[in-house]
């Protein structure tokens, strides 16, 4: 019961998703497909509720233990503020919710991601060494691509963008295509394993 039902559900859904691809133009197939995909969208949305629960519980526990009280309180306050404003005044343009999104969420997230530009510079200085043939190939290609993609590179020598294009469209294409073919075969086999119940890690322990 605890394992069989989920395995049956996964088998039915997976098989259906494969079969419906070959059953086009049949009205009841379309209706079922529509219901199944839209049902999936709804079910996945519930994971947000789980997310909010785990964030609140973890942080409340920390606050109780007296760890990082100020930042944790700030987190909960920010969460409550966004949720409160959202439900109170809606999410339309010009609403306080939208204003906070544009003036707080956007800069915070964008800046968080942009920190990597600085760390990559530091890594370029300390870590990228042409220790072997493979590493040299990697660095060589990276350097040529970097310089070929910028206006200064074009100014230095007009042939650089062409070289960068060539690397992208041929050696890079070969490598990426090999990975893509490998990954597709891998995806097909894991998909089959899930449908046939051979892969059950999603069921967790017990």
């Amino acid at each position: 019961m605890k394992k069989e039902i989920p395995l049956i559900i996964a088998f039915l859904l997976g098989t259906w998703m494969i079969l419906e691809n070959f059953l086009t133009g049949i009205p009841w197939v379309s209706t079922t497909k529509e219901a199944i995909t839209n049902g999936g969208i709804v079910i996945m949305a519930f994971t947000y509720v789980l997310g909010i629960y785990s964030i609140v519980s973890v942080n409340v526990a920390r606050i109780k233990r007296g760890q990082d009280v100020v930042p944790k309180l700030a987190l909960l306050a920010a969460l409550a503020l966004m949720v409160g404003l959202g439900f109170w005044r809606g999410i339309a343009e010009g609403s306080p919710f939208n204003w906070l999104y544009l003036n707080l969420y956007v800069p915070l997230q964008a800046t968080m991601f942009s920190l990597l530009a600085f760390y990559i510079a530091s890594a370029a200085f300390r870590a990228f060494r042409a220790r072997s043939l493979e590493a040299t190939l990697l660095l060589g290609c990276a350097t040529l691509v970097m310089i070929g993609r910028i206006p200064v590179g074009e100014k230095i020598w007009s042939g650089l963008p062409g070289i960068s294009d060539w690397i992208m469209n041929f050696p890079n294409l070969a490598g990426k295509r090999a990975i893509m073919i490998g990954a597709s075969l891998g995806a097909i086999s894991t998909g089959l394993r899930v449908i046939l119940g051979l892969e059950r890690s999603y069921l967790g322990g017990e």
Partner: protein, 592 residues
């Protein structure tokens, strides 16, 4: 003072301050960074939850279980259970709304709620049901998509089109014709074009009369020529002669002087270029575009130096110039460096005020294009307003002779041609012209190039962009053709082609070696070792490319942040100051 504390200013300060709080981590870990980081987690989670409610749970679930009053009324109305006048005020009870819901969504609601049991210690196994739903569905989707969207197309792309392009070079040169397929397309376009014209003529009897005898003969000739393409191989056939003449005109359009001269000489007498022409530096300059001068000059030279070429000259430079050869020769002798058509008209004794306005560049270009029989008329006329057309028409009215009446007829047709027909004519011309250009440059590749030509020249594809392209082409022919791989000398083109073939070979080797490397999990020794080493080399090159792009992306993100800060320099400065002071105070407090 009010502006200082507006919502906008507050927003700007918030943007700058939160950005700098995160950036402060680059100096060292500090409470402000930590604060900002936590605020971010809180804000993003809150944002996500609100959005999921308003964008997913409410419209896709709640509204389906408990449809809004309006939706229920609509359903009732459609089912004929509600009169139109009762529609706005019809009361809908909660029960009625529930009854109109989609019951299958109770299943999804239940599955969604089961998902929440993940947090229960005893009943968490129930959350496996919705999980199995999602994971099972994705497993099925993944199989189909990986096969349909990645595996098959990528294998196909690796296997076919090995050399990338097929060339039809040398055969073209000797035969002087286009490959059958291109020819067919071009012929079709021309036939369509002519058919459109005929139709437009047919719609208006006065216009048909205006077209006159001059056009009728020409149309007949063209249609016959198009119909009888099989005789193209015959050395003296009319179609082939026609092509020769066209080639001269096309080369002139291309502006490839040397090529044009070579073609003209080869076509007219087989004389080497060096013997028959002056050096480029010695050519006189005129008011007209260089290629047009050159056309006339070269034609004159050939006329004077090669008796065999005289017939061809008239063919190329003015088939419709209904003049005695001596007059034409005089007109084309080019004594004072003036536009040839001006001279022509003057030599025939027309008073200046009855002549077209030559100060208009478009008039000059039109006249010269007619003279060189390049046939860019639709394009040039497309640039003209109907008023201008009528103006030129009036000015040309006193002229007579085959050429003039033809010009008049064309203008008359164009002045009143419906837009669609004009577009079709435009397209037909483009097809004609582009194919000609490529042929003259002795490179017509199949596959993507053919596709590109078709794309740019099919009648429904004439957009402002292609017209812009046309202008760009006139300014810089060599640069324009570069994307089509038609650049430089034949040797250079051959080298390019070899590089292309080599590169495609590289892709095949790289893909095979890379797949090999992934799929043989046994020890990579011997031949397998060599192949997997090659595979690794390709993978490394692709990782290098990815690394280069990653650097690019990360730097772009930093640029974006700095751009935002620089949008409010005062605010950013203030925020920076506040942050530095706060950091200083904080570090002092920590030390105490």
């Amino acid at each position: 003072m009010g502006a200082l504390f507006s919502v906008e200013v507050l927003g700007a300060f918030l943007v700058c301050f939160s950005t700098l709080m995160i950036f402060s981590f680059l100096y060292q870990d500090n409470p402000f960074y930590k604060f900002a980081e936590h605020v971010f987690v809180g804000v993003s989670t809150g944002y996500g939850v609100v959005l999921v409610w308003f964008q997913i749970l409410r419209p896709n679930l709640i509204n389906r279980l408990l449809p809004p009053v309006d939706a229920v009324r609509q359903q009732l109305f459609r089912a004929g259970q509600l009169a139109p006048e009762a529609y706005p005020d019809h009361p809908v009870s909660l029960l009625e709304r529930l009854a109109h819901g989609q019951f299958i969504y109770y299943v999804f609601l239940a599955l969604g709620i089961l998902m929440l049991f993940k947090i229960s210690r005893k009943l968490h196994w129930l959350s496996r049901w919705p999980l199995a739903y999602v994971i099972g569905a994705f497993a099925g989707i993944q199989i189909i998509q990986a096969a349909q969207g990645a595996l098959v197309p990528q294998l196909e792309a690796t296997m076919k089109d090995f050399s990338g392009k097929e060339t039809v070079v040398t055969a073209m040169e000797s035969a002087g014709v286009l490959p059958q397929g291109e020819m067919g397309a071009r012929r079709q376009a021309q036939v369509d074009w002519i058919a459109d014209w005929l139709q437009a003529l047919g719609e208006d009897s006065s216009r048909a009369a205006a077209a006159g005898l001059a056009w009728q003969g020409e149309l007949e000739q063209r249609l016959n020529g198009l119909a009888g393409l099989s005789d193209i191989e015959a050395p003296e056939s009319r179609v082939r002669e026609g092509f020769k003449a066209m080639r001269v005109g096309q080369a002139a359009v291309v502006g490839a002087d040397a090529e044009f001269e070579r073609l003209l000489c080869a076509g007219l007498g087989g004389m080497p270029v060096e013997e028959s022409l002056p050096a480029p530096g010695q050519l006189p300059t005129t008011e007209l575009a260089p290629w047009q001068d050159r056309l006339v000059l070269v034609a004159t030279r050939v006329w004077l130096e090669s008796p065999a070429g005289r017939a061809g000259l008239l063919e190329a430079c003015g088939r419709y110039l209904d003049l005695a050869p001596a007059v034409a020769a005089e007109a084309l002798a080019f004594p004072a460096g003036r536009p040839p058509l001006v001279q022509l008209l003057k030599s025939e004794g027309f008073p200046a005020e009855r002549q077209p306005d030559w100060s208009l560049p478009v008039t000059r270009r039109l006249a010269d294009s007619l003279l060189s029989e390049v046939n860019p008329r639709p394009v040039l006329l497309g640039e003209w307003k109907a008023e201008q057309v009528r103006n030129l028409l009036a000015r040309l009215a006193p002229l007579d002779g085959g050429y003039r009446s033809e010009l008049q007829a064309q203008l008359a047709i164009f002045a009143g041609l419906p837009d669609s027909a004009r577009r079709a004519a435009d397209a037909a011309f483009l097809s004609y012209w582009r194919a000609g250009v490529l042929r003259e440059l002795r490179l017509l590749r199949q596959g993507w190039l053919r596709h590109t030509i078709a794309l740019h020249t099919s009648p429904d594809r004439v957009t402002p962009y292609t017209r812009l392209q046309l202008d760009a082409f006139r300014r810089d022919p060599a640069g324009f053709l570069e994307p089509y791989g038609v650049t430089g000398s034949p040797t250079q083109m051959r080298v390019n082609m070899l590089v292309e073939i080599f590169s495609n070979l590289l892709v095949v080797i790289g893909v095979c070696a890379g797949v090999f490397y992934f799929f043989f999990s046994k020890k990579h020794t011997g031949a397998l070792g060599v192949v997997s080493k090659v595979g690794i080399a390709f993978l490394m090159m692709s990782f290098g490319a990815s690394f280069g792009y990653t650097v690019m992306g990360r730097i772009s993100l930093a640029i974006g942040r700095f751009q935002d800060l620089l949008a409010w320099p005062v605010m950013a400065g203030t925020a920076l100051l506040v942050l530095i002071v706060a950091l200083y105070l904080e570090s002092r407090r920590a030390r105490v």
